[in-house]
């Protein structure tokens, strides 16, 4: 998403694409889809319950994008704008679900007491299934930052732009996520050894 072109050039290309989408040009919409659907699908799937939810979420996201593209003014890149829209939607859905079930939701900016790093055996190879499960157990905001940074490879500044927080918050959320995952995977390993 970070481009090597001068930002002025990128923005005008983005504004052009946005304009064409707004006027109903199918090819332009398809271009946007091809550029970002893959990554967004991965994000949506891991932010939610899995494949079927991800399909619905992805449809919602692109539909929302179509509806709101008129409000894109070029302040950020079109990609960042789209990812912001997407993550907000995923977080909303996730939080609604959790609120309905009476669970507490975490907040992005709450002052962090860093979880104590658990001493213990180092992790050996991490199984994908275990990791997916550990990710699914992360609180929403934490999960969002981790997925964007560690799974999808965005930089902290980009993550901050997408999630609407400071770069420092992105770093601390990603760190918190890694610690929690480590704790969860470590616990499983201990259990396995005892078996």
């Amino acid at each position: 998403m970070s481009s090597s072109k001068p930002s002025g050039e990128v923005r005008s290309a983005d504004l052009d694409l946005a304009g064409r989408i707004r006027s109903g040009e199918g090819a332009a919409f398809e271009t946007l889809y091809q550029q970002h659907a893959g990554r967004l699908y991965n994000l949506a799937s891991r932010m939610s319950a899995g494949a079927s939810d991800a399909e619905d979420l992805l449809q919602d996201i692109f539909l929302l994008a179509y509806r709101k593209v008129g409000s894109y003014r070029g302040e950020s890149s079109l990609g960042t704008w789209l990812y912001r829209l997407a993550m907000n939607h995923c977080l909303d859905v996730l939080r609604n679900r959790q609120t309905r079930m009476g669970q507490l939701t975490d907040s992005m900016d709450e002052p962090e007491a860093a979880p104590v790093a658990a001493p213990g055996p180092a992790l050996s190879a991490v199984s994908r299934i275990d990791l997916e499960r550990a990710i699914a157990a992360l609180p929403p905001a934490c999960r969002a930052a981790f997925l964007l940074h560690d799974v999808e490879g965005f930089g902290h500044q980009e993550v901050a732009d997408i999630l609407g927080v400071s770069e420092g918050t992105s770093k601390s959320q990603v760190h918190k996520a890694r610690l929690r995952i480590r704790a969860q995977l470590g616990a499983r390993e201990l259990k396995a050894e005892r078996v």
């Binding site: 199918g26 919409f29 659907a37 449809q59 790093a117 055996p121 994908r128 480590r182």
Partner: protein
């Protein structure tokens, strides 16, 4: 053993590779004597690496077409708001409701996006004082038309390519499509007698949604069978060329 010193260390930044060389050296000197931090750094690196190599999931190939169909079904609310300023009232609410009924379905179709494809909804300009019920009717008709076209498109594929399916399965799908068709007919008939009944409306759209979903399932099955047959054909070619 975790000490206060360990807690203050820029472990996170180190794992991300964001420390200056001097800061890195300081941290590494600490780690030489601190197995807890060593283990932590190793684990965090492991988690980060594992995260980056997670499965890359692929959205289904027809998802774009489904999204485009939904987009095409969007009411041109913005256009209407420009042309007819008094649509913001109750009428606007009904527009949103009709659109909402559509939004929850995935319609699998070839791309529909494009002004030429937008169906005429037959809505008269605001100057014509149509009653609320009439305009709701018109919007519901528009929604129905969209479902109908989605259904026709899928039916065409399902009918022409059902040879790919095992006849027993084709028969089951056919029979169940008839069940859904009956539900659609009953709902339509009910709506004729009670156009304002939300139960009848919901019944119709639910049945149409189910039909679209069932047809989609049929088409997906056909595609899977075809893939299987193609794979076999591929092997056939391989065998022949040996």
């Amino acid at each position: 053993m975790t000490t206060v010193t360990c807690q203050e260390l820029p472990i996170a930044a180190y794992v991300d590779g964001e420390l200056s060389p001097a800061e890195e050296r300081t941290l590494e000197r600490h780690m030489e004597g601190c197995p807890t931090c060593r283990a932590l750094v190793a684990d965090l690196r492991t988690v980060r690496a594992a995260a980056f190599t997670l499965d890359r999931l692929e959205p289904p190939a027809d998802l774009l077409a489904r999204i485009q169909a939904r987009v095409a079904a969007e009411p041109r609310a913005s256009a209407r708001l420009l042309a007819w300023p008094n649509t913001r009232g109750a009428w606007g609410v009904w527009l949103a409701a009709a659109a909402a009924l559509l939004v929850t379905t995935s319609i699998g179709l070839a791309p529909l996006l494009g002004p030429a494809e937008m169906p005429a909804t037959g809505l008269a300009p605001a100057a014509d004082q149509a009653s609320l019920v009439d305009s709701v009717q018109a919007d519901l008709q528009a929604a129905e038309q969209h479902y109908d076209r989605a259904i026709q498109g899928l039916e065409r594929i399902a009918r022409s390519d059902s040879a790919e399916l095992d006849p027993q399965i084709a028969a089951v799908l056919q029979k169940n499509l008839q069940v859904v068709d009956q539900a659609i007919d009953e709902s339509r008939a009910a709506l004729k007698t009670q156009p304002a009944s939300s139960t009848a409306q919901e019944g119709l759209f639910e049945a149409m949604r189910t039909k679209v979903a069932l047809l989609q399932q049929t088409v997906e099955l056909i595609n899977e069978m075809r893939k299987g047959n193609q794979a076999e054909a591929g092997r056939l070619m391989q065998d022949l060329s040996r």
